[in-house]
């Protein structure tokens, strides 16, 4: 059973195509990294899957059913930089936002929801900051609040947009632990990621994207030098050439993307 099935997804901004005919099927219980250069449409891909931006063509199915009917199975961690952290609210309140669908319109959060939100904060090591104004949290702590909110959603398929960018080591470990837990629970995780060095450690599946789908599949098969060159247009530099990477055309964590 595929957790997510995307076919012929095309998106454009001002008539310029950003994504062209992207199709793939992500198996249930996997952790997929979406990899590609800046401007490859990585965030656009997940935003169009989530219907946050309009697509020209394309069909999205979640567990075999159209996306619109399966919204409650979706969890989402947006990029941290996309919200105003000076907003007058505290960490617990942000986590509760993950429960608004369950609480329902016109109603206030009940005790059970608040208890659940606190548990989610605890799971990311943030319970001590529940009443803290969000602007007074560090970048990593803010990211963990977003993770707790996603946890609170109690979803089956999680989308995360660059969760590792600008976070401290403790938060990085918290994110990895969370992804592993989700996988163990049979949940599916899809992550926009830009650091090539960590791809093999974090993800069991890789989706290589540069406006079009370059390749998708299990990490050892797809995360090859050849594929990366296709994705990044030859702008790949070796930090350390090792015999194995040269012979097998496999990248073992010694690759870096040279940005211009």
């Amino acid at each position: 059973m595929h957790a997510l099935h995307v076919s012929d997804l095309t998106v454009s901004y001002d008539k310029k195509p950003v994504l062209e005919d992207v199709s793939f099927s992500i198996p249930n219980g996997s952790i997929t990294g979406i990899i590609g250069p800046n401007g490859a449409g990585k965030s656009t891909l997940i935003k169009s899957i989530l219907r946050l931006i309009p697509s020209i063509t394309g069909e999205v199915k979640v567990y075999g059913e159209p996306y619109a009917q399966q919204k409650k199975l979706i969890g989402y961690v947006p990029q941290r930089s996309e919200v105003d952290w000076d907003f007058p609210t505290n960490a617990l309140d942000v986590v509760l936002m993950g429960r608004y669908r369950h609480i329902g319109i016109f109603k206030r959060a009940k005790k059970a929801e608040i208890t659940w939100a606190r548990e989610c904060l605890q799971k990311v090591g943030m319970l001590g900051y529940a009443e803290r104004q969000i602007s007074q949290l560090s970048g990593g702590q803010q990211q963990r609040v977003f993770l707790a909110r996603a946890l609170a959603q109690d979803a089956m398929v999680y989308f995360m947009d660059e969760p590792f960018s600008g976070v401290d080591a403790a938060t990085e470990r918290a994110i990895i632990q969370l992804m592993k837990n989700w996988k163990q629970e049979g949940k599916t995780v899809i992550v926009v990621h830009h650091d090539l060095q960590t791809v093999e450690d974090y993800f069991d599946h890789v989706l290589l994207l540069n406006k079009q789908l370059v390749d998708f599949g299990e990490t050892p098969k797809v995360f090859t030098l050849e594929n990366l060159e296709k994705t990044y247009g030859g702008k790949i530099a070796f930090l350390q050439k090792t015999p194995s990477t040269e012979k097998e055309h496999h990248a073992h964590g010694h690759l870096a993307f040279e940005s211009e």
């Binding site: 935003k47 989530l50 219907r51 946050l52 919204k71 409650k72 979706i74 989402y76 947006p78 996309e82 919200v83 105003d84 907003f87 007058p88 609210t89 505290n90 309140d93 942000v94 936002m97 993950g98 608004y100 669908r101 609480i103 319109i105 016109f106 109603k107 206030r108 959060a109 104004q133 909110r149 959603q153």
Partner: protein, 289 residues
């Protein structure tokens, strides 16, 4: 003092007090949303744009019927927001310039129409110019009932959708992701702003009503880090300003209400700026020392 006491015992004035209190409260609550949506300037454009609407309706119907005039105000207010959006989307003009253009064009047109009305009609146009600076004393019972009922309804809507407004303001992407009707909620917030401007212009005037929307929540932000508390506090600050404005402007003959309301709100703002518990300048200095 005597005038004040005699005013207070006047039944019409008691209505005006209730109206200014509720209008101020609703402005503070809705203003909190406007402020966080970073639409302070747009709300000012909407207010200024209400004037031509009032004048056009008066020219068409030739009666000073408040509901008809206010419908005109709502239409041109709304048109102004759409015009701003259109300019931003279809040209390379930036938001601040687009707002600047629309404020001037609509308000200028309003003033031209108002001058034309004052020179060409007789008698019945008396008091149309109170829409510019507001005049609480000119309100009659039915006007105040409209303000009171409207303000009450707007506060009720704000309460009902509070949670959804909060998420839409803080993180619209996530709100959309969990299936909230974000476009509808944004539309509803726009409606609240148009509505409060329209019911408030008689008392506060088109030039200064945006200040009644923005100043109380700005002041409230210095006392709290929670949106719910901020909205209520902004409501209370708005209510105090509204009542002070109504009382002082009624006591001193010829003093328009809007400026007094805004001065009261600004006074509360400066106190908050200095002594606010959360971000006040004095508190910050004390903590640093």
């Amino acid at each position: 003092m005597d005038t004040l006491l005699s005013s207070l015992s006047n039944a019409n004035f008691q209505w005006v007090l209730v109206g200014s209190l509720l209008l101020g409260f609703a402005s503070g609550v809705i203003g909190s949303f406007v402020l966080l949506k970073k639409q302070s300037l747009i709300s000012d454009a909407m207010a200024h744009a209400a004037l031509p609407g009032v004048c056009i309706m008066f020219l068409i119907f030739e009666v000073k019927s408040i509901p008809i005039l206010l419908i005109g105000a709502a239409i041109t207010s709304f048109l102004a927001t759409q015009a701003i959006q259109f300019i931003i989307n279809k040209s390379r003009i930036k938001t601040d310039a687009a707002i600047g253009i629309i404020i001037s064009v609509f308000f200028g047109f309003g003033i031209v129409l108002l001058t034309y009305i004052q020179q060409n009609s007789t008698g019945s146009q008396a008091g149309l110019d109170t829409f510019i600076f507001g005049q609480a004393a000119s309100l009659v019972k039915s006007d105040v009932q409209l303000i009171t009922g409207g303000a009450f309804l707007l506060v009720l809507i704000s309460m009902l959708f509070f949670k959804e407004f909060k998420l839409t303001l803080f993180d619209p992407q996530f709100a959309k992701g969990i299936g909230l009707p974000v476009s509808f909620l944004n539309g509803l917030m726009l409606f609240l702003v148009v509505a409060i401007v329209v019911i408030g212009i008689q008392m506060v005037g088109v030039i200064l009503i945006a200040a009644l929307l923005i100043t109380p929540p700005l002041a409230a932000r210095y006392w709290t880090e929670r949106l719910g508390v901020m909205a209520i506090l902004a409501g209370i600050f708005g209510a105090i300003s509204g009542v002070l404005g109504a009382v002082i402007s009624t006591t001193i003959v010829g003093l328009p209400t809007g400026p007094v309301i805004v001065l009261s709100a600004s006074f509360i703002f400066f106190i908050s700026l200095l002594f606010g518990k959360k971000k006040g300048l004095v508190i910050r200095r004390v903590r640093q020392a």
